[in-house]
């Protein structure tokens, strides 16, 4: 993987954002990200195939048939094979997988992968409607007004009950602090302008079930984001064609792609069992263990998901995620930095783009190109891991890349 590009993750929190002002459309985001990557790979003529990941443009933007936006990015992409994929918030990961598989199947040497979502077209309360199909539609009617936050609030409640509320909430607060501190170092992050002084204290404010959720506050949740990310997936042949030295790319050394029954409730509300499976498959494929990984990008759509993901990765025992995080292990100077540009809570969560954004961040970190957000990548741990989750632990993609 090479030639990553992220647009700004636009939404509340960015100084330039105002819900009342007219904003760029999805085509602007797609074009910016697509051209950002094309410029780095010598232009559209080098591309064999295109994949675009998006969750719900059909409702947010009244737009479908998204594969046909590639020729709009660059006329040179006209008449090339293009596919749109969807897997809710795990869409970006699926888009990457499509590209990886085309290259592995040798049907393409160079695949342009884009993921995006433009969600600020509606208020959060309607956004909740549009995102709800990430879960089982039959559950929507009796679900919370904010359907997905409601599901993760339930998970948080279960976790509180099993492992203690106070420590867990402190873990959430530390997770939030790490996310914002990292985002402040990344100019494209939605929370780049965040000025809250005491982040953990802000995150410890009690949830209000009447106004929002029983067990989570707004700071426990990723925000509504507009953004796009793009990356190129290439064979060595492809790199040659584009004139890119192999040392500029990260190597995909393993992946795990896993789906779980959307119609069934999670077997254990306090664990991300499907993510655990995907990560374990990816590490096994790569022939490594988590101890060899330097950094990870994981799907913290909510703080509670971040905590449980730490456990799913095998960094902490079940129930010990909060302590692991509180101890600073996942902070940028900790022994296992996670979400080094803020993750979904800090950088932003343009749903269909998130998986691709994870890959771009890993690429930048492993290649020492993360700018102010750069963390230390020890020579003896040359791997990066991403875990992108669709819905409530349903459609999972984990990918391991090597420096």
């Amino acid at each position: 993987m090479v030639a990553g590009y992220n647009t700004i993750s636009m939404g509340s929190g960015r100084k330039e954002f105002s819900p009342k002002r007219e904003r760029p459309g999805l085509e602007d985001y797609i074009k910016e990200a697509g051209q950002g990557t094309l410029k780095q790979i010598g232009g559209a003529q080098n591309v064999d195939e295109c994949v675009i990941g998006n969750f719900m443009a059909s409702r947010f933007n009244r737009q479908a048939n998204l594969a046909a936006f590639f020729p709009f990015i660059d006329e040179g992409l006209r008449y090339k094979p293009a596919t749109r994929v969807e897997g809710a918030c795990g869409t970006g990961g699926l888009a990457l997988m499509n590209g990886i598989k085309s290259v592995l199947a040798e049907t393409a040497e160079v695949v342009l992968v884009i993921g995006f979502e433009v969600q600020n077209t509606v208020k959060a309360i309607y956004c909740a409607d549009f995102l709800a199909p990430a879960g089982w539609a039959a559950n929507r009617k009796d679900g919370h007004a904010y359907f997905f936050p409601g599901q993760f609030s339930e998970r948080a409640g279960a976790y509180f009950e099993k492992f203690g509320r106070e420590t867990t909430r402190k873990g959430f607060a530390r997770w939030y602090r790490n996310a914002i501190e990292n985002a402040r170092l990344c100019p494209t992050a939605q929370e780049y302008h965040n000025t809250i002084k005491d982040l953990e204290a802000a995150a410890m404010v009690e949830p209000n079930a009447k106004a929002f959720l029983e067990n989570l506050t707004a700071l426990d949740c990723s925000k509504v984001s507009d953004g796009a990310s793009a990356i190129a997936i290439m064979s060595e042949e492809g790199l040659k064609r584009c004139g890119i030295p192999v040392t500029d790319a990260v190597e995909v050394v393993g992946y795990g792609q896993v789906a779980e029954d959307i119609t069934k409730p999670p077997p254990d509300k306090t664990a991300l069992t499907t993510m655990r499976q995907a990560v374990s498959n990816a590490l096994e494929f790569a022939g490594i263990n988590i101890g060899q990984v330097a950094t990870a990008e994981i799907h913290d759509c909510f703080t509670v998901a971040g905590i449980m993901a730490v456990e799913a990765l095998g960094l902490a025992e079940h129930g010990k995620g909060p302590e692991y995080v509180i101890a600073g292990n996942t902070a940028r100077d900790g022994k296992f930095p996670i979400n080094t540009t803020g993750g979904l809570i800090g950088w932003g969560h343009p749903t269909g783009g998130t998986g691709v954004h994870m890959a771009v961040t890993l690429l930048e970190q492993l290649k020492g190109k993360a700018g102010a957000a750069q963390v230390n990548i020890p020579d003896d741990r040359p791997y990066g891991l991403m875990a992108n989750m669709g819905g409530d632990d349903k459609t999972l993609v984990a990918i391991v890349v090597r420096k």
Partner: protein
């Protein structure tokens, strides 16, 4: 008759007006919420929106729809529970659309007063005209067999005058919302000499359901809110006159407006507030109050003069400010009306000159940062300490203004309008969004 039964048939008079439309909205929502309770299934709730103009009523229906949408979006978590049995309503937008329909479905717009002849209770928000109110109340009372209760939104006419004039025998209470009723938390409740206990009890229950802050006031013209506001206006006009030796009338109006906003840490200056309420409305309130205030002249020749020149202020139906004593562009003050030359004079022509005359202003916290701030005393105390020692012209006027405002507040208590200091402060804090009550010790 229970609370719910009473609210099954209601009329709002003057429903298309600024106050009436807000009262209509709040009442429609309350009635619809009652109708959606399982125990009330099958019962009909009717709210007549009565006004003189079909066009205005059409506008008020549009206003209602837009406002109910906002309300529904805010309480969608609760609405999902209310509509839990409606399996056909799944997404939030479907729930919200249904709720808008259910509230709108309570409302019956009409230009016929006769519609009120079936109502159990009547909200009145028509012109501040005692004779007109008496005439309409007695007409409804004579033709309505249900012995309806009257809730008048008058801000200045003594309730006893209306009660006795229309022969209501205590079936009336002053229920004075603040503008805009949908947002302002304050309601002044005023009993006439004869108001029945059950009317008062209902009024308190209704205010509670609407989550309003109730301040009882005595039945003395102007009550607490206008009792303070009108005297505040008269004082401001006095200050303008005092400044005329040194500056033109437009400059003086600008200066006093600036001082009453910036130096006093108020949400808007006094002349902007007059425009907001309407020069005509203010002038009329004074006209109504004046006969009832002994030893005191509640009357401003300046306001009357401006009104005579067509300077009215008030708001456009969509809520933006009309030009009045001041001229506005995108909500900002850009000019001041000159009654001598019958024309607006741009603020830019004299602003720096007047500001210089007022002198250096002691660093004041912005109203926005003080209001709603739990630790506002930490901001206000040091500010007023600076104001006390400042020697500029502006600071001097501001100090006198703060003292006068306190004196007015104290007078409302000593003359029996308000029951205590706290009630006066509550009215100014909640009804006028002041950052601090007029009865304070900042300058003592």
């Amino acid at each position: 008759m229970t609370y719910e039964e009473r609210l099954q048939h209601v009329s709002v008079l003057g429903a298309a007006g600024k106050m009436g439309s807000g009262i209509l909205l709040l009442t429609a929502v309350e009635m619809a919420d009652l109708s959606l309770k399982p125990v009330n299934k099958g019962k009909t709730f009717v709210l007549n929106a009565i006004d003189v103009s079909d066009e205005a009523l059409s506008g008020v229906m549009r206003y209602l729809k837009a406002q109910i949408l906002k309300i529904a979006e805010k309480k969608v978590i609760g609405l999902r529970a209310i509509y839990a049995d409606r399996r056909d309503l799944v997404d939030n937008d479907e729930i919200i659309a249904q709720y808008i329909f259910d509230v709108m479905n309570v409302v019956r717009p009409s230009t016929r007063l006769e519609a009120a002849y079936d109502s159990n209770m009547i909200f009145e928000a028509i012109k501040e005209d005692s004779a007109l109110k008496v005439k309409i109340f007695s007409q409804i009372s004579q033709n309505n067999p249900k012995q309806p209760w009257f809730f008048t939104n008058t801000s200045s006419i003594p309730i006893t005058v209306l009660d006795e004039g229309a022969g209501l025998g205590g079936r009336i209470i002053g229920f004075h919302f603040y503008n805009p009723p949908a947002i302002q938390k304050l309601v002044e409740v005023i009993r006439s000499k004869h108001t029945l206990d059950e009317v008062n009890e209902f009024a308190l229950a209704y205010a509670k359901a609407l989550r309003k802050v109730v301040v009882p006031a005595n039945d003395i013209a102007g009550f607490i809110g206008n009792g303070h506001f009108m005297r505040d206006i008269l004082y401001a006009v006095e200050e303008v006159h005092k400044l005329l030796n040194d500056m033109s009338v437009t400059e003086a109006i600008y200066a006093v407006n600036k001082i009453s906003q910036d130096y006093l840490v108020r949400p808007m200056g006094i002349f902007q507030l007059i425009d907001y309420v309407g020069v005509d409305v203010c002038s009329f309130i004074m006209f109504v109050m004046n006969p009832f205030t002994k030893d005191e002249e509640i009357h401003s020749p300046l306001l009357d003069k401006l009104l005579g020149m067509g300077v009215k202020g008030g708001q456009y139906s969509e809520g933006s400010q009309k030009d009045g004593i001041l001229k506005y562009e995108k909500g900002k003050i850009v000019a001041v009306y000159d009654p001598l030359n019958h024309a607006y004079v741009p603020v830019s022509q004299f602003q720096s000159k007047v500001d210089e005359k007022l002198g250096t202003m002691p660093a004041a916290p912005a109203w926005k940062t003080v209001v709603g701030n739990k630790a506002k005393d930490d901001l206000l105390k040091p500010y007023f300490a600076r104001l006390t020692t400042a020697s500029s012209l502006g600071a001097g006027i501001a100090r006198d203004y703060v003292k006068k405002s306190k004196e007015i507040g104290k007078h409302l208590v000593s003359s029996g309008v308000a029951f205590n200091d706290a009630d006066v402060n509550t009215v100014l804090l909640t009804g006028f969004f002041h950052a601090y009550g007029p009865i304070n010790e900042y300058l003592d």
